[in-house]
């Protein structure tokens, strides 16, 4: 189906805004290239096959990284150790944990030899990811992919086994994407917990074993239903790239990955997050994961009508950061949301304008559209109607990833029945409005078109300012979500290191070679 442009937008203005966003991202990239972080080094360990925990329960990647000079990097230290000892990375990690090996005490061998060793191991690691990617492509080919909005629901019981029951139920009802929400507090942990977990709060811990269990369950129910059910989790917090690596190894399909979310909503240091998001997205790109950006969150704390243009501004920057990490447009689940105050006259028209604007500016992106949350109240009956309006816009503007609203949003993380009700309502609406988008056009100079043009103009102006002052300064000024952060404040700055002369991350080249598809 061919999409029409309905908003009459000024094409040169879109180009101009995009060019500014590109400059902002490229400036930042120069900074990013000079640094690594502890979690990036732990990710390298994971991709080289290190997993598990010590007797004390400390993840082995953390143990290895506390035994190296971070500015030289895990790859060089491990490569050296492999040559010197003949052990593989996992054995090396275990020996360090048992205090039988000290990487810093090994004499450093010839750097070219080390590089050769580690690059060939890295290729093996990347091969696993490539294989997973192929399995996904094959399964989707076999079953055929759904057209129109994918129904995305969350499970968040805190217990992975309970989550599986809920996910199963949702899949049978018609859900296409299952997202396992993470436990509160995980973002601030500077390690990834290990094994299957049953005690999270407001969500379930992201662990590799939990990923694996859910993947297996969804493959099974998908097999029965004859469709591929996508699995989603979150690359945010202090371990963005490690979670991306786990997602790549366990064939997750969708991952939240926002360049600014951790900074704004978890007070993670901005330098740390900007560096981490880059490698994290590179992994997502290579593994064929659709990333989801988090602009929807901005308008949870500031007014969506007044600040709608900050959403577009950030979307344009997120797009450029994604391109720099090798993510093609088809994997960019650019985010936005339906969050205006329900009491506004013509609010629906403004929402429609914003959603259509995202659609036209990112024509090839599988847009992620978020339902009302902040104006949901305990009035669950009214809530169903708020969600219905959201669903209508989803269909009218041809969004791809439709995060279903829950009638009990203001009360608790969803009950099984909340999810089923949401799926039934969405299917009813999408079916009834099946071809609506092709039938409707907007009044050329009407409220919707004017609102969209205004939003674009304001986003372009803001991008000029950010381009002048740089992204860090913009965050210090509190431009996004009304939240101010300082360049050296927040959590995790101690994990940031300037790369030394012989630093090596073998995966960057492997992941980027694929280029932008």
């Amino acid at each position: 189906m061919k999409r029409q442009n309905k908003l009459n937008l000024d094409v040169s203005l879109i180009k101009q805004a995009r060019a500014k966003a590109r400059i902002i991202a490229h400036d930042m990239q120069e900074f990013i290239n000079q640094y690594t972080t502890t979690t990036i080094e732990r990710t390298i360990c994971r991709l080289l096959g290190i997993d598990g925990v010590s007797k004390e329960g400390i993840p082995l990647p953390n143990i290895v990284v506390s035994n190296i000079e971070v500015d030289i990097g895990a790859a060089v230290f491990l490569g050296n150790a492999i040559i010197q000892t003949g052990f593989n990375p996992q054995e090396i990690a275990e020996k360090i944990a048992q205090k039988k090996l000290d990487l810093k005490k090994l004499p450093m061998g010839d750097i070219n030899g080390i590089k050769k060793t580690i690059i060939s191991l890295a290729n093996e690691g990347a091969e696993k990811i490539r294989a997973n990617r192929e399995i996904r492509t094959k399964l989707i080919q076999t079953y055929g992919d759904k057209e129109g909005p994918l129904l995305y629901v969350i499970v968040a019981t805190g217990n992975i086994y309970e989550d599986i029951i809920q996910a199963n139920s949702a899949a049978r009802k018609g859900a296409d994407i299952i997202a396992v929400i993470r436990s509160t507090g995980q973002s601030l942990m500077d390690y990834v917990p290990y094994g299957a977990t049953t005690q999270g709060f407001g969500g379930t811990y992201a662990t590799q074993e939990n990923f694996r269990l859910m993947r297996k369950a969804l493959d099974e129910v998908g097999g029965e239903l004859g469709k591929y059910i996508r699995l989603c989790n979150y690359c945010s917090g202090l371990c963005m790239p490690e979670i991306a690596a786990m997602g790549a190894l366990e064939r997750l399909d969708v991952m939240l990955n926002d360049a600014l979310y951790g900074i704004l909503f978890r007070d993670i240091n901005m330098q740390r997050t900007i560096i981490d998001q880059h490698f994290s997205r590179m992994i997502n790109g290579y593994s064929g994961v659709i990333i989801n950006t988090g602009e929807d969150n901005y308008i949870k704390t500031v007014d969506a009508v007044e600040q709608g243009f900050t959403v577009l501004t950030s979307q344009l920057m997120n797009e450029q950061f994604a391109l720099l990490a090798g993510i093609p447009e088809e994997q960019m689940g650019i985010g936005h949301a339906f969050e205006m105050d329900p009491s506004i006259r013509n609010g629906f028209l403004y929402e429609l304008a914003q959603a259509q604007l995202s659609r036209e500016i990112f024509p090839n992106a599988p847009l992620k559209y978020m339902p009302p949350t902040r104006y949901m109240t305990g009035d669950i009956f009214m809530g169903c109607v708020q969600n219905a309006l959201f669903n209508i816009i989803t269909k009218l503007t041809d969004q791809r990833i439709c995060l279903l609203g829950m009638l009990t949003e203001a009360i608790h993380t969803p009950f099984m029945s909340d999810r089923a009700i949401a799926i039934d309502i969405a299917q009813y609406i999408f079916n009834n409005l099946h071809s609506i988008s092709e039938e409707l056009s907007f009044k050329p100079d009407g409220i919707i078109n004017q609102r969209a043009t205004q939003t674009l103009q304001k986003a372009d102006e803001l991008l000029s300012i950010i381009k002048e002052q740089g992204l860090f300064q913009t965050l210090e000024n509190g431009t996004f979500a009304g939240i101010k952060r300082s360049k050296n404040g927040g959590k995790g700055l101690e994990g940031v290191y300037r790369k030394g002369n012989i630093y090596l991350n073998p995966f960057i080249e492997i992941f980027m070679e694929r280029g932008v598809a």
Binding site: G158, G185, Q199, D267, T301, I411, S417
Partner: protein, 263 residues
């Protein structure tokens, strides 16, 4: 008693209206009609239906009508049930206090502090534990406030410190001691699996261990926080949805004055 109800009573329709026996209202007085919905961990068969009926009966329903049931998964069934509640309650002795609060306004509160305490009140606030929701505490503390009601920062006689979110209880207590705070405001939004209860109780324990529990007015708040829960956990007060700064300030200034008098 509402105007309409009084009128109805006058013309005789309401012979059965009785504060001693209040029941839900469907479309006629004392009909006791209610609707409920729930899910049972049973496949959608007659066994599930019978279980739903029996449970409804145990909840105090008669004339039970299962108006809707559907399978959520092979092992779960969702029900919507209508019925007539057999129970009633006596509220004749409960004094009527309107939901509109009778709080003082900002000027009155500042004046009250000047007159009775003759010094600025120091208020320390934060969202503690792993919770990162700040909109609630900001609504109470920030200059801008909430729904057109300024937050405590705006008050001349109140000195505020808002530490933001994800503040560890230990850090919060240390700060309270350093600042010699009069009032502690704690916000908790995430309540799944009782995480707020653990976190709020832990704060009380720490304050007691430091010997300052009695030196502060300790208040918690959040969408799922009730007065009763707050008291149970050892707080002086708790505030839920739609609270504004005046409500909280009225409470703590009065409490501070009363404590001063007792000393």
């Amino acid at each position: 008693m509402g105007k309409h109800i009084r009128k109805m009573k006058e013309i005789g329709f309401f012979g059965k209206f009785d504060l001693k026996r209040i029941k839900p209202y469907g479309d006629s007085i004392n009909d006791g009609k209610i609707q409920i919905s729930f899910t049972l961990p049973l496949p959608n068969t007659n066994r599930a239906t019978i279980a739903a009926k029996r449970l409804s009966k145990k909840m105090g329903l008669k004339d039970i009508d299962i108006v809707f049931q559907k399978s959520l998964e092979s092992d779960f069934t969702f029900f919507i049930v209508y019925g007539v509640l057999v129970h009633s309650v006596d509220v004749s002795k409960v004094a009527m206090v309107s939901h509109q609060s009778k709080s003082m306004n900002m000027e009155e509160i500042d004046e009250f502090i000047r007159e009775h305490l003759r010094r600025k009140v120091i208020v320390l606030g934060a969202t503690t534990g792993t919770d990162s929701h700040t909109v609630g505490i900001d609504a109470i503390m920030s200059m801008k406030g909430y729904h057109g009601h300024h937050g405590l920062e705006r008050y001349e006689m109140i000195e505020t410190y808002n530490l933001g979110s994800q503040v560890l209880n230990e850090e919060f207590v240390r700060k309270a001691i350093n600042l010699n705070a009069d009032v502690l405001l704690v916000s908790q939004t995430v309540t799944q699996k009782g995480v707020h209860v653990k976190n709020l109780s832990n704060l009380v324990e720490l304050l007691e261990a430091e010997g300052i529990r009695d030196k502060v007015v300790l208040i918690c708040g959040g969408a799922r926080i009730s007065k009763e829960l707050a008291k149970e956990l050892g707080y002086d007060a708790g505030f839920g949805s739609n609270t504004v700064a005046e409500d909280v300030a009225t409470f703590f200034v009065k409490e501070l004055v009363q404590r001063e008098k007792m000393d």
